[in-house]
């Protein structure tokens, strides 16, 4: 555990250096924006839409009380999306997609000697391969969080529009009631930390892969499992600090 911790920070010390060729760095950065951000859009949209709808239905079932105002369902849906789903749960899902992708990509490069080839050329492979991934995902994550919240709210609206569970009017009042803009910032700040954890930890596991295909699989699994645990721990700490 201590060994991993030390190796991780030593790797980060090699990652966070000024790139050898800034032009090459920006090329890699834009590729990663597309790969990690744009290619994550379908899963973010689908999951957010369904979760928004499901949250609305479940909120309605749990607030079947004449003493509670009718806008409670919309309010609960919005707060759940803003505070937890679109930042934390979405990051847990993306830890599976993006994290395993990064760990397996870098792990495969390691076992096929591509990273050795880079090092022998005199390239700081950690900086060239990992820094664009970290910065690109940290750039895209807040946008994905905002998109997820918006799509989730649309999912809740769809429940009102296409079923008789809740009226659209009540839902719209609920999602606007007592809105606290800080909760949006809270979600974005959390997501930045989580994006760093997902990319850096996955890159670390990929970079330290040794052996063959089996080890690449193990690195990928370790990356997802450990990223998820750290995200949950960080969520607890950040919620205590920021709320």
């Amino acid at each position: 555990m201590i060994k991993h911790f030390g190796e991780y920070w030593l790797l980060m010390a090699r990652v966070f250096r000024w790139p050898d060729r800034p032009r090459m760095f920006w090329q890699q950065y834009s590729r990663e924006l597309e790969k990690q951000g744009l290619q994550s859009l379908p899963i973010v949209i689908i999951i957010s839409l369904f979760i928004g709808a499901i949250l609305t239905i479940q909120a309605k079932i749990n607030t079947e009380n004449p003493l509670l105002p009718t806008y409670t369902v919309g309010l609960l849906t919005r707060e759940t999306l803003l505070l937890e789903f679109s930042s934390t749960i979405l990051c847990l899902i993306l830890a599976g997609k993006v994290g395993s992708n990064i760990a397996s990509e870098i792990g495969t490069m390691r076992i096929t000697e591509q990273i050795d080839a880079m090092e022998i050329m005199g390239v700081n492979s950690a900086n060239y391969l990992i820094l664009p991934k970290i910065l690109a995902f940290m750039t895209m994550m807040p946008l994905l969080v905002i998109l997820s919240t918006t799509i989730g709210l649309i999912g809740g609206w769809a429940v009102g529009a296409f079923t008789d569970i809740i009226t659209v009017a009540d839902y719209l009042v609920g999602i606007q009631y007592a809105f606290n803009p800080y909760f949006v910032w809270y979600g974005i700040i959390k997501s930045l930390f989580f994006a760093f954890v997902i990319t850096s930890l996955s890159a670390y596991y990929g970079y330290s892969t040794h052996g063959g295909a089996l080890e690449v699989g193990k690195s990928s699994t370790n990356a997802v499992v450990n990223s998820s645990i750290i995200i949950l721990l960080l969520d607890l700490v950040l919620s205590r600090l920021l709320l």
Binding site: D20, T112, A117, E119
Partner: protein, 265 residues
């Protein structure tokens, strides 16, 4: 711009290693190995599988950190170099890895352009011209330049890897089992290419192999390892007349070379 006239000429004995010891946990892999690798020659590290060839090659490159000993590149001792100095040294080195190690997310052309984009100060046109020259030197057809490494044959991958290795005019060229996985005819092409490039640019080339055909075809300076110990060093002309049982067992393992041995006797 003319690139093929860029010759290097340095002092003799470009790489000299002295008493290299390398172990992994309790296992001693290199036991006080000393050798010299000369420029303008194809220096071969030979031996059976598990004899320590790859570990020696990777130690020379600094991929493995040695336990003790000296590895001197023109008098610069690799184990004593700082990280930045090692990176500067590596810019003088070209490497052909066993599995080619081409970047699989880049095309053939982009693979050769990569070191140029990273370290040269050429314009894009000059870099493209240089990359084309290198690819042409290893006989890669124009239509293959836009292909991905996974779309070309093993022999072509090796040739592209050689083109990438020589793109920056290296002083030292390291080849780890360049013929592994190749048919005899393609192996011969790769061997000749390595030899031609070594002579043409006066490079210090170090090849790690257990292929007897390669050894007899292009080996100028041969270092034989057994169980991590250097048993013999000499030329390919001498190899048939050595009184060393381990080397004879290695050289005359095949019926063909046994017959050659009889002829020599």
């Amino acid at each position: 711009m003319c690139f093929h006239v860029c010759y290097y000429k340095y002092s003799e004995d470009l790489i000299e290693c002295t008493n290299i010891v390398k172990s992994f946990d309790e296992l001693l892999v290199l036991d006080h190995v000393s050798a010299t690798f000369e420029d303008g020659k194809v220096n071969m590290i030979i031996g059976q599988s598990g004899s320590g060839k790859t570990v020696l090659l990777k130690s020379l490159l600094g991929i493995h950190t040695i336990d003790s000993g000296r590895i001197e590149y023109d008098g610069r001792n690799l184990p004593e170099m700082k990280e930045n100095e090692v990176r500067m040294l590596h810019r003088e080195v070209g490497v052909l890895f066993q599995g080619s190690a081409l970047f699989d997310s880049l095309t053939v052309m982009e693979n050769v352009l990569f070191p140029l984009q990273m370290f040269s100060h050429m314009t894009l046109d000059e870099m493209t011209e240089r990359a084309r020259f290198c690819l042409n030197r290893v006989q890669i057809a124009e239509h293959a330049l836009a292909l991905m490494p996974s779309e070309i044959s093993g022999g072509m991958q090796k040739r592209v890897a050689i083109a990438r290795a020589i793109a920056l005019n290296p002083k030292y060229l390291f080849c780890d089992e360049p013929n592994s996985g190749l048919d005899p005819q393609t192996s011969l092409v790769i061997d000749k290419l390595i030899q031609d490039i070594t002579r043409e640019y006066n490079i210090c080339t170090v090849v790690n192999t257990h292929d007897m055909n390669s050894i007899m075809e292009v080996g100028d300076n041969i270092i034989f390892l057994k169980n991590g110990i250097k048993e013999w060093q000499g030329s390919r002309q001498d190899i048939f007349h050595v009184d060393n049982e381990a080397l004879n067992n290695f050289v005359f393992a095949s019926e063909l070379y046994k017959e050659i041995q009889q002829v020599h006797k």
